[in-house]
C-alpha cells in the first residue's frame, strides 16, 4: 500500500478516537484477526487487518466509502485472539457509524432503521402472526413498541 500523506485526515483520526477508544492504536499488524476470520475464507477481499491499518493511518475517504467495512460477520473471534486487546469488531462498528454520518448507508441498513422507526420491530407482529401466536397458546406481544420507534430515529 502506498501512503499518500494528502490522504491522511487528522480530524477523522481524532473523531475515531473519541467515537471508540484508543485501543486500536496499539495494533501492530500481526494479522491474527485476518487469519481467524471466517469471512475471508469466502470473500478474500475482506481483510480486517488492512482496514484497521487504513483507519489508523487516517485514510478517511478510502475507509468510510469501502464496502468491506460492512462485511464483518461479528463473530468476535478476532477480538478474543488479538494479542493487543484491540476490539476489532467494535472498530468496524465505529467505522460503520462514521460512514453513516458521512452519508454512506447501504440500502439494507437504511431499511432496517426505517422498519424500527416505523413499526418498532424488524419482523412485524401482523394479524396473521398474532393469530398464530394465540393458536399456539403464546401470549400477546406489543405490536409496535413505542420506545423503539422513538429511539431508532
Amino acid at each position: 500500500m502506498i501512503v499518500d500523506v494528502e490522504e491522511i485526515d487528522s480530524r477523522f483520526l481524532r473523531r475515531l478516537k473519541s467515537e471508540f477508544d484508543e485501543s486500536y492504536l496499539s495494533c501492530f499488524q500481526c494479522g491474527v484477526c485476518s487469519a481467524s476470520c471466517p469471512v475471508i475464507e469466502i470473500e478474500g477481499r475482506f481483510n480486517p487487518r488492512r482496514l484497521v491499518k487504513m483507519a489508523r493511518l487516517g485514510f478517511k475517504d478510502r475507509v468510510l466509502s469501502s464496502e468491506y467495512i460492512w462485511l464483518c460477520s461479528m463473530c468476535l473471534l478476532c477480538e478474543e485472539r488479538c494479542p493487543q486487546g484491540v476490539r476489532i469488531p467494535e472498530v468496524m462498528t465505529a467505522l460503520r457509524n462514521l460512514a453513516v454520518e458521512e452519508g454512506y448507508i447501504p440500502e439494507p441498513m437504511r431499511r432496517i432503521q426505517r422498519l424500527l422507526v416505523e413499526s418498532g420491530r424488524l419482523y412485524p407482529i401482523d394479524d396473521f402472526t398474532a393469530e398464530e401466536r394465540a393458536e399456539r397458546g403464546l401470549p400477546e406481544v406489543e405490536a409496535e413498541p413505542e420506545f423503539v420507534k422513538r429511539l431508532a430515529g
Binding site: 462485511l71 447501504p106 432503521q113 401466536r133
Partner: protein, 286 residues
C-alpha cells in the same frame, strides 16, 4: 426461579418454535417467566448508531430493573447486546453521557441498572443444573447422535460476559445434550459462525458461511444439528433447502430436544414449524 423473558424481534414473529419449546420446558422445570414490555435489544441498529443501539438496550435493562427481575434471553445476539451495553456503560463515561442524551427523548436516564442477563442455556446449565436435568429425563434419547452449534454471541465477547466459559472451547451445550441421553458428536467446524449477521448485507457470503457447516455435517451422518439462537436457525434450518441439493439435516433448538427428553409432546414444542422435517428423528425417539 423467576425471570423476565426477553423475546427480541425474531423469535416471537419468525421462530415461534423456539418460544413455544422454551416456555414448555421452563414450565416442566418449574421456571417462571414474566412477560414485560421489552422491545428490540438494539443489535440491528448497532451498525448505524451504537449510541442509539445502546440506548435501546439500556431502556430494556431499566424495565427489568424496575421489576427487580433478572433477564432471560432466547437469542444469543440479544444476550450479548444487553450484557455488552451494561459492561461498556459502566466503564465509558463519555458513552454513557451520549446514551443518556438519546434517552432524554423518553424523559428517562440510565443510572447503571444492571439486572443479571442470562441466555436460557445458562439458566439450564448453571441455575437448574445438568445433574438436576438428568434426573428429570422421562424419555432418554439414547442412540441419538447430534452435532451442537454454539454460535458466537452466546459466550463472546468473553470479557463482557465475565468469561463464564472458554470462548473458543465451550462445554455447556455438549453437557446439556448428554444429560438427555443423546451423544454430542465432535466435528470439524463446530465453532464456525453461521453468517446470520451478514444476511441483510450479503446473502451470498452469509449462505456460503452456513453451507460450510451443513456440507460437513451431511458427510457425518448425524441425526440433528442442535442450536441455541434464532439467527443460526434461519441460516441452517430455513436456508438449508437452498444450500444442500440432497440429504437433509434436521435442525432443533436445544429446548426442543430437551422437551422431547422431558417427555413433552412434539406439538407442545413447535416441531411442526421446523423447516427441515423432523419426522425421522421423532420416529427414532418416540
Amino acid at each position: 426461579m423467576r425471570y423476565a423473558l426477553f423475546l427480541g424481534c425474531t423469535v416471537p414473529a419468525r421462530q415461534m418454535n423456539y418460544e413455544q419449546s422454551a416456555r414448555a420446558v421452563a414450565e416442566a422445570l418449574d421456571i417462571e417467566f414474566v412477560d414485560l414490555p421489552f422491545g428490540c435489544c438494539g443489535f440491528p441498529l448497532e451498525p448505524i448508531s451504537r449510541v442509539k443501539a445502546f440506548a435501546m438496550a439500556a431502556h430494556n435493562l431499566m424495565r427489568a430493573s424496575e421489576e427487580h427481575l433478572d433477564v432471560v434471553t432466547l437469542c444469543s445476539a440479544c444476550a450479548e447486546t444487553l450484557v455488552k451495553t451494561q459492561w461498556l456503560l459502566s466503564r465509558e463515561e463519555a458513552l454513557l453521557r451520549r446514551v443518556n442524551r438519546e434517552l432524554k427523548k423518553l424523559g428517562v436516564e440510565y443510572e447503571g441498572e444492571a439486572p443479571r442477563v442470562l441466555h436460557i442455556l445458562r439458566v439450564l446449565h448453571d441455575e437448574v443444573g445438568v445433574e438436576n436435568i438428568r434426573r428429570r429425563i422421562e424419555r432418554p434419547l439414547r442412540g441419538l447422535r447430534v452435532a451442537v452449534h454454539y454460535g458466537c454471541h452466546y459466550m463472546r465477547p468473553s470479557e463482557a460476559y465475565g468469561g463464564f466459559e472458554d470462548p473458543e472451547r465451550p462445554r455447556s451445550l455438549d453437557e446439556l445434550v448428554e444429560a438427555t441421553g443423546a451423544e454430542s458428536v465432535d466435528y470439524p467446524g463446530k465453532m464456525d459462525c453461521c453468517g446470520g449477521a451478514l444476511l441483510a448485507m450479503s446473502e451470498d457470503v452469509a449462505r456460503e458461511m452456513a453451507a460450510k457447516k451443513l456440507r460437513r455435517l451431511s458427510a457425518l451422518d448425524v441425526d440433528a444439528l442442535i442450536l441455541i439462537c434464532p439467527f443460526c436457525a434461519i441460516m441452517y434450518d430455513r436456508y438449508q433447502s437452498l444450500i444442500l441439493k440432497e440429504g437433509r439435516i434436521p435442525v432443533l433448538y436445544y429446548t426442543q430436544l430437551l422437551g422431547l427428553a422431558l417427555g413433552l409432546e412434539p406439538d407442545a414444542l413447535g416441531l411442526d414449524l421446523n423447516a427441515v422435517s423432523v419426522e425421522d428423528l421423532l420416529a427414532k425417539v418416540m
